[in-house]
Structures are given as C-alpha cells and as structure tokens.
C-alpha cells in the first residue's frame, strides 16, 4: 500500500489512462493516428484547450466557474492586434495590454464574486456580455481602422514555426503545466487555494484571506484566457469574432475529465492536461473516421458520460 497515491493522484492517473486508451483505440482503428506527427498536432490543438482549462480549473478549485472565458479570450486577441498594428516593436506593449485586459476582466469577476457576493455563474456570464459588447462596440464590429492588423511577425513565426522543431504552443503549454503544478503544490498560495476550496469558512478562520485568494484566482483565469487568445492570433494571424466560443464548455469538460472535482478543493493540473488531450483526441478521431456531426456530438457526450461514471462520481450518500 502506497500512501502517496491519494484519491486525487489516482484520478490524475485515470485521466492519463483514458487519454492513452483513446489514443490507442484511435491508432488501431485509424492507422497513423498515434504517429508522432499526428500526436504532436493533437497536442498543439489540445494546448489551446489546456490554456483556458488552466484558468477554468483555478476557479473550479474554489467552487466557482468562469463563463466569461469566450469574450475575455476574444477581447484579448483583438486588443493584441489592434494595439500592435502588426509591428514587432509594439509587441511587448501589446502583449502586456492584452494580458492586462484579461487580468482586469478576471479581477472584476473576482471582486464581484468575493466582495459583492454575486454568484459566479451570474458575475462571469454578465462579464462575458459586457466584454462582448465592448469588443464589438469599440472595434465597430472589428472594422475599426486598426482592426485589420495582424499579430506581429515574431509572434506568428513562433506559433507557426516553433522552436527547434517543437511547436511553440507545446512549449508554452509545458511552461503553463509546470507553473500550475508548482503554484498549486509547492507554494503557500496553492495550499490556501485547496483550503478555500474544501472549506472556505474554516479557511477564513485559519487566517486565509479567502477573498484575496478568490480574486487572485479569477484574475489568473482571465490571464489564462487572454493568453489563449494571444496564442490563437499568433497561430491564425488575425482575430475573428467568436474566436472564444468553442472554449466555454470544452474548458469545463477538460477540467472534470482531468479529475478535478467540480465541487472544488480537489484536483491537479496534470490531470487537466490529460483531460484536454482526451477531448481533442476524441474529436480529431471522430473527424478522421468521417463520423457525421450528429454522431460526433452524441459520441462526444457519451464519452464524457462514461468518464464521469468511471471516476467523476460524488461520494455515496451513506
């Protein structure tokens, strides 16, 4: 009996087992699916899900949820291109501004949830609308003079080309995974996050600044969504409207498939990495098998259900 294998660690292992199972099944049914190039492509696509899921996970850890991800992401992407005007010299400021927008939106979410007591669902849903309205309004529906700009060349080269043959998105993802893991397991902040997630009243009475932690987490979620937006424009060159829409439900699914408890207080980012990978692998595989859209939706839902039944169940009531 190994005491180190806590239920949380076990769920991370399950998440990897599922990812491996999906990939092997894919390899059997669709030759070439598990080749390194294919895997790498799936990893790159999964990285984008992984970024937003990182933020989503942080707020889920304290029993919250972030529904503002789509337009934080989209807004940051628009800010990046409209302020950089495609010029490399402006890239640093543009990056800072885009991340700043994400941080600001997340901060506002956190303040609303922690200080004003607005339920997370409402606060972040409202924020999503606010950012959508601002993005559309200020950019005049993305037709403003600077709205046609591209992400500066260095950023695009990085994300299209990569570093030493390794796609940049993957490198950044590895960085994010390291950061998240260190943050959550080795720092005092991480300890406080889990404490707040498990029992916020007890955490408060133990001297944890519950509100501060909550605000910090929502802010980080905003930053991660903005990061995803930046990567996506680096990858595609230009922002589009609705860029973030696919990531709302997908980020939640990736978090739970990764073994994070939706009730808060439990889970590791390494599991979320596997969760993102699993979801993207399933989608890619179904597309490769030319399953029609209706079938894909049904199978996707069923796969999530099966995973939930395998290790996403609440405690029994007795």
């Amino acid at each position: 009996m190994n005491a180190a294998i806590t239920p949380d660690v076990r769920r991370v292992l399950y998440a990897y087992a599922v990812a491996a199972a999906v990939l092997s099944l894919g390899a059997v049914l669709h030759p070439g699916f598990a080749s390194w190039t294919s895997l790498r492509a799936v990893l790159v696509v999964a990285a984008f899900t992984g970024f937003v899921a990182a933020g989503q996970m942080l707020v889920v850890l304290v029993g919250g949820i972030d529904l503002s991800i789509p337009w934080v992401l989209n807004g940051a992407a628009i800010v990046l291109t409209t302020t950089s005007l495609g010029q490399s010299s402006r890239l640093p400021q543009a990056l800072a501004l885009a991340l700043g927008v994400g941080a600001l939106a997340g901060f506002a979410n956190g303040m609303g949830v922690a200080w004003l007591g607005v339920p997370a669902v409402v606060m972040t849903l409202g924020m999503n609308g606010v950012l959508q309205g601002l993005s559309l309004g200020l950019s005049k529906g993305l037709t403003c003079a600077s709205c046609g700009s591209y992400a500066p060349q260095p950023l695009r080269d990085l994300f299209v080309g990569g570093v030493a043959g390794i796609p940049a998105a993957l490198l950044v993802w590895i960085g994010v995974a390291l950061l998240m893991t260190v943050l959550l397991t080795l720092t005092t902040f991480g300890r406080r996050v889990y404490a707040v997630g498990v029992n916020s009243r007890a955490a408060f009475l133990s001297g944890v600044g519950v509100r501060g932690v909550t605000v910090a987490l929502y802010t980080l979620s905003g930053v991660f969504a903005a990061l995803a937006g930046i990567m996506l424009v680096g990858y595609g060159g230009q922002p589009s409207l609705g860029l973030g829409d696919p990531y709302l439900f997908e980020s939640i699914a990736a978090v739970v498939v990764g073994g994070v408890s939706i009730l808060g207080g439990r889970g590791h980012y390494l599991g979320v990495v596997a969760g993102s990978l699993t979801l993207v692998a399933v989608t890619t595989f179904l597309q490769a098998q030319r399953v029609p859209e209706y079938g894909r939706l049904m199978i996707y839902g069923l796969v999530i259900l099966v995973i939930l039944f395998a290790y996403g169940r609440d405690k029994a009531h007795d």
């Binding site: 607005v118 309205g133 009730l263 209706y294 939706l297 259900l305 169940r313 405690k315």
Partner: protein, 322 residues
C-alpha cells in the same frame, strides 16, 4: 414589528418581481417616448408569444436549481423536441395533439435520463447535463438535419394564436401548475433537497426520486417550450435550443432563485424570463447601438442580482437591528 419589517424589506426571493416591475416601467417609458403612444395589443400579444418558450424553460430550470442542481441540457432537449415536433406533428383534427403528447413524453424522458444519471449515478448535475446536452443536440441534428418542418394551424390556434391571447391561458396554466406543485408533498421536498440533501435524506425524504422528478419536469418544460416555439415560429430548427441554456439560467437568477438551492420560486423565474424578454425591447426602443447590446444585457444581469444581494443584506441588517 419584526414581522412588519420582514414583510416590507425586499428579499432575494422577491427580486424577480421588483426587476420585472422596473423593466416593465422602463419598457413603457421608452416605448411611449419613442413612438408617442402606448403599446398596443399587438405588442402585448407578440411579447407574450415570444416569451412563452423561455418562460417554460425557466420554470423547469428553476425546479432543478431549487434542488441545488443545474440543467445545461435544456438546450439539447429543446432542440430535440423542436425537431421532433416540426417533423411529426402533422395532420388535422385531434391527431396532431396526440403527437404533441408524444413530444411531451419524449421531453420528460430525456429529463428523466438526466435525473437517473444525477441521482443514481451520483454525477454532479452540471457535468451530467453538459454531457447529455451534446447527446440530445446530436439527436436533434439527426432528426432534423435542415431547418424546416411545419405545424398544423389547429395546433397554432390553440397554443399561440397570433390574434388572440391564447398564450395567456397557457401562462396561467404554467403558473397554476407551479402553485399546485408547491402545495404537494413533492413540492415541499424540492425545497428540502435543495436546502440540505443529507438532512433531507435523514428525515426520510427520498432525495433520489425528488431529483429524478425535477429533471423529468425540466425535460417536460423543455418539451412544452419546444411546442410553443414551433407553434410561434411555425417550423423547426435543430439548433433552436442553444440560446435557452444561458437565458434560462439568467431568468432563474434574475428571478431570485438561490444557486445553492432551497430558496426562491418558479414564479420568480417566470418574472425573470419576462423581464429578460422585455430588456430586448427596452434596448430596441432606447435606440442602443446594436453592437453594444450585449454590454447592457450583461450589466442588467449583474446589477439585477447585485440589487438582490444588497436587498438581502439590508433586510438582514434591519432584522438584526430589530
């Protein structure tokens, strides 16, 4: 004295009605100042008919939220039932009504599946219904790959007649249904489960069956919404349900139903749904730049709920002071 204050100070549960009154007043003001006359029966009737589907979905959603759950799959259930209604409900005389019953049973069955997964499978509602949302949406696309289908005019005349406010009857039936439900033991148990499931089980409340019940009812409400949707639009669309996910949740919170369960009422959710429908009109007649509309809708949501929080705080302060 304590009672009097308790009754006068608005509580979170009364939020929906206050927001509704405020929104309705805003509507009348912007409408009259923009058109120089009061709204006509056409306006009232079209508001009534467009809001009915949301009202039904919101009632179903509120039942689920009252037990402390959430139903994201309403989007899928509405899509599926819209697809099935538009493709199967045909014929004349009594036959289409038979098919309508089939659709209602289908909706309830989809909801019951959610209920089983949540109650027996012990899977968090948000996740269970996230998965079934995908499944039901897939089914809807399979049933109705291209928008279309139709609905016989007999059905239309009975459900959402564009010239006669038949919708009022159904709104009344929906509200009456809730008032009756509230007065059943099942109704009391919904609150019990939402308030504290473990305790509810301990005092003998069959929490599993209650949950199964509310999800099935939510599915049934989704089916009812679909029927009205098809009736007002006269045809079906497999993507019809998607907007209802977030709007039904918004209705429920604006209606003052607590997300933690146990507090609020379906009537509040009805008020919330009506208010959200009216907000569209307020923005329209206020001449807000369409590009900025979601900004105002987002603010409306947050501010409405914030008012509720403040009201609750004030009420608690005053109660404490008394």
């Amino acid at each position: 004295m304590r009672d009097l204050i308790g009754r006068l100070v608005p509580t979170q549960a009364g939020l929906g009605y206050i927001v509704l009154v405020a929104t309705a007043a805003a509507y009348l003001i912007v409408y009259t100042s923009s058109l120089g006359r009061f709204p006509t029966s056409f306006d009232y009737l079209s508001i009534l008919n467009t809001m009915l589907p949301l009202v039904f979905v919101a009632i179903g959603q509120s039942l689920v939220v009252l037990t402390g759950g959430i139903d994201l799959s309403v989007g899928g259930i509405v899509s599926l039932c819209v697809a099935v209604t538009a493709t199967t409900v045909t014929g004349t005389g009594i036959a289409p009504f038979g098919w309508l019953i089939v659709v209602l049973v289908l909706g309830a069955a989809c909801g019951a599946i959610n209920g089983v997964i949540v109650a027996a499978g012990r899977i968090a509602p948000i996740l269970a219904t996230l998965a079934t949302l995908s499944i039901f949406t897939g089914l809807a696309l399979w049933v109705l790959p291209v928008p279309g289908g139709s609905i016989p005019s007999v059905v239309r005349n009975v459900l959402s007649n564009p010239n006669v406010p038949t919708g009022l009857i159904w709104l009344g039936v929906a509200i009456g249904g809730w008032l009756v439900l509230r007065r059943t033991r099942f109704g009391m148990r919904i609150y019990a489960v939402g308030s504290d499931e473990t305790s509810a089980r301990a005092v003998g409340v069959p929490a599993g069956r209650v949950k199964l019940g509310v999800y099935a009812l939510s599915g049934l409400c989704g089916a009812l919404a679909s029927v009205f949707y098809v009736s007002t639009t006269t045809a079906g669309d497999a993507n019809a349900g998607a907007p209802f996910i977030l709007t039904s949740i918004a209705s429920v919170v604006v209606g003052g139903v607590a997300f933690t369960g146990g507090r609020g009422s379906a009537l509040g959710a009805v008020a919330g749904a009506v208010a959200l429908t009216l907000v569209i009109d307020v923005l329209f007649f206020a001449g807000i730049d369409p590009l900025y509309q979601s900004l105002f809708q987002g603010l409306f949501l947050v501010v409405a709920v914030l008012l509720g929080t403040v009201a609750t705080l004030v009420a608690r302060r005053r109660r404490a002071a008394a």
